[in-house]
Point group: C2
Chain length 334, copies 2
DNA sequence: TTAAACCGTGCAAACGTTTGCCTATCCAAA
DNA sequence: TTTGGATAGGCAAACGTTTGCACGGTTTAA
């Protein structure tokens, strides 16, 4: 491993100055054709590659964006990161990765690393139990543009990309109504989550539009564990008005709920129809998938977040990006 | 965004030299306690953060490892990258990501970017249709240690981590034999793949151990598309000896095969038992998952690859790492 | 009392690249 | 012959940090 060739080296060999070499390599107009050729040829011969670390340092810019996600191995996030990487790559940006494992401490630490690496900007989906936002504020102070994505903190002036669950939920409930269901249950998530509130809002909205009265006992909440879902299900199925269809908070919940219902001898999607929110790529394959899923387009969200960030980077005075994608019901045709 | 504080700035304010500040910040023994304190206090006040880009440049080391994978959104790879990130993070390394989308061109381009970024080392799972390895050779020339992982190129002197499918296949076939199956089919992948050869080898080995003769007509191959799998299945099910159990190349193939079999009114895991190789995290949830899966531990593979790379980085003279993990049969208890 | 040892600090170079400004040469127009 | 403008290229500083070496001062041992 001989030291890689540098501009200086080329300059020395050609008996010209480093600045000339640099300009020649960049096709600067004030360099004569002769020298330009000589430089470029020698550079090719030596397989010269610019030392980006030097350039990053000198330009105070790294052409790198940091991405902090809760869990890289979750289908939703890995789709998102795929979108991020594609869009970033298309614009010659690199992607630095970190996963918080939904822990606030780790998240703060990664933010620190990213800051030290002098990433040009960040895309973050915050950890579940992050309560303190000081590390995000410090990013603002440091002048590192940040686009939040999917899980966004409750702060005033931020850029974000998120997916509105209201519209998707309205579609989901309407779909069930159109299939003749009149008693529709919902297994929602923890009440403090924005995602939960949006789902409930959509549920109510759809019912009202159809001039049906909203029965709160049909909306139960699960802590998203299997036990929580089992509890929610047994509550739902033991009430006076037993639903003929259920909207589940997400695919994991739906699958738990399906298993519960199967144990109770319900015929899935006959006695009891399920609709869910997609995070698993499996509907194709499961024997009793939900009949329809509200799709959140993680890949596209990732792309849009990256796009937004790149725009901010090229125009730092650009206004707050508040991008909301519409979720959309996808009906599974078996 | 005022310019972030630098060592120079601290030095100026304290009327001492930059070198003293640098040393004080690093707890260098030759700096007096008084100055050390003063420096560290001011640094804290100013929220000084070392400019890593300067350090990277100066140290010719970036504490960054590059990862190039075919597809970030595939469950197998996203699990792997999770392992990589965890292990890297534990050692204060960052991870730079790239996905090749299984295209040779893109792969080469990413290798170039990684080189320019001066990553300390690389972990690569090569693209399906990469035929030309020159970009990998150039990495060697540039002195960038590279650990290949799962999909490894056919080159002599390389580091790699892979998972041996032979042992897992032997276990899988044994498992089926122990369940009383005597006619066991296999849907294998394209014959040129190492992965396919290993599966067949395992199949034969297991049969021989049980003094059963190897019937080649029971091993058919699919191009891994649904159509290919359907074709393979219909071949398998229309022969004289119809298998009562099938070993499928992977989960995707297995699920396609299951659907095919269901259409033909087979009762899954009763008339026809399936065993597969895991790449989906869904066995828990599917109604008719394979009865068992050969697990390849992508997360662990990722970790081990990273471990290996870190060792190489700390001891560049270390010998070629050729790490083979044993695959292992996991029996799904419903 | 002198020399040696030690302590705390500063100097300056180096890492590779870019860029504002200056200079030298040449040619043409006045 | 002077002026003036291209044209082609060099100088040097700057980015922030680290580190080998030297320096002046104080203490310690002989």
């Amino acid at each position: 491993m001989p030291a890689p060739p540098t501009i200086k080296e080329i300059a020395r060999r050609l008996n010209i100055s480093a600045s000339t070499v640099s300009r020649a390599l960049h096709d600067h107009p004030s360099i004569g054709l002769r020298t330009k050729m000589r430089v470029q040829q020698l550079a090719a011969e030596l397989k010269y590659e610019p030392n980006q670390t030097a350039i990053f340092f000198q330009q105070r810019k790294t052409f790198t964006i940091g991405v902090i996600l809760p869990e890289l191995s979750e289908a939703f996030f890995s789709a998102a990161i795929s979108g991020i990487e594609d869009m970033a790559g298309r614009h010659q940006y690199s992607v630095l990765m970190g996963q918080s494992h939904d822990e606030e401490e780790r998240e703060k630490q990664i933010v620190g690393t990213m800051k030290k690496h002098r990433v040009d900007g960040l895309i973050i989906s915050i950890a579940k139990n992050t309560k303190d936002y000081s590390h995000f504020v410090s990013l603002q102070q440091a002048g590192i543009p940040t686009v939040f994505f999917d899980r966004i903190p409750n702060l005033a002036d931020i850029h974000y990309v998120a997916c509105d669950m209201v519209s998707g939920t309205v579609q989901a409930v309407k779909f069930l109504l159109s299939k003749g269901h009149r008693v529709i249950g919902m297994i929602n998530g923890p009440e403090k989550l924005l995602a939960s509130r949006q789902r409930e809002e959509g549920y109510i909205k759809a019912m009202q539009k159809h001039r049906l009265k909203y029965d709160p006992t049909l909306v139960v909440s699960s802590d998203l564990t299997r036990e929580g879902t089992d509890k929610a299900m047994s509550k739902l199925l033991s009430q006076k008005r037993v639903p003929s269809a259920i909207v589940a908070f997400n695919d994991y919940v739906a699958l738990d709920a399906v298993q519960f219902a199967m144990k109770k001898k319900y015929k899935i999607n006959e006695d009891l129809t399920f609709v869910s929110y997609a995070n698993l790529p499996i509907n194709h394959y499961t024997a009793f998938p939900p009949m329809a899923s509200v799709e959140q387009f993680p890949y596209i969200q990732g792309q849009r977040a990256t796009e937004a960030l790149l725009e901010i980077l090229s125009d730092p005075s650009s206004p707050w990006k508040k991008i909301t994608l519409e979720s959309q019901l996808v009906i599974h045709t078996p």
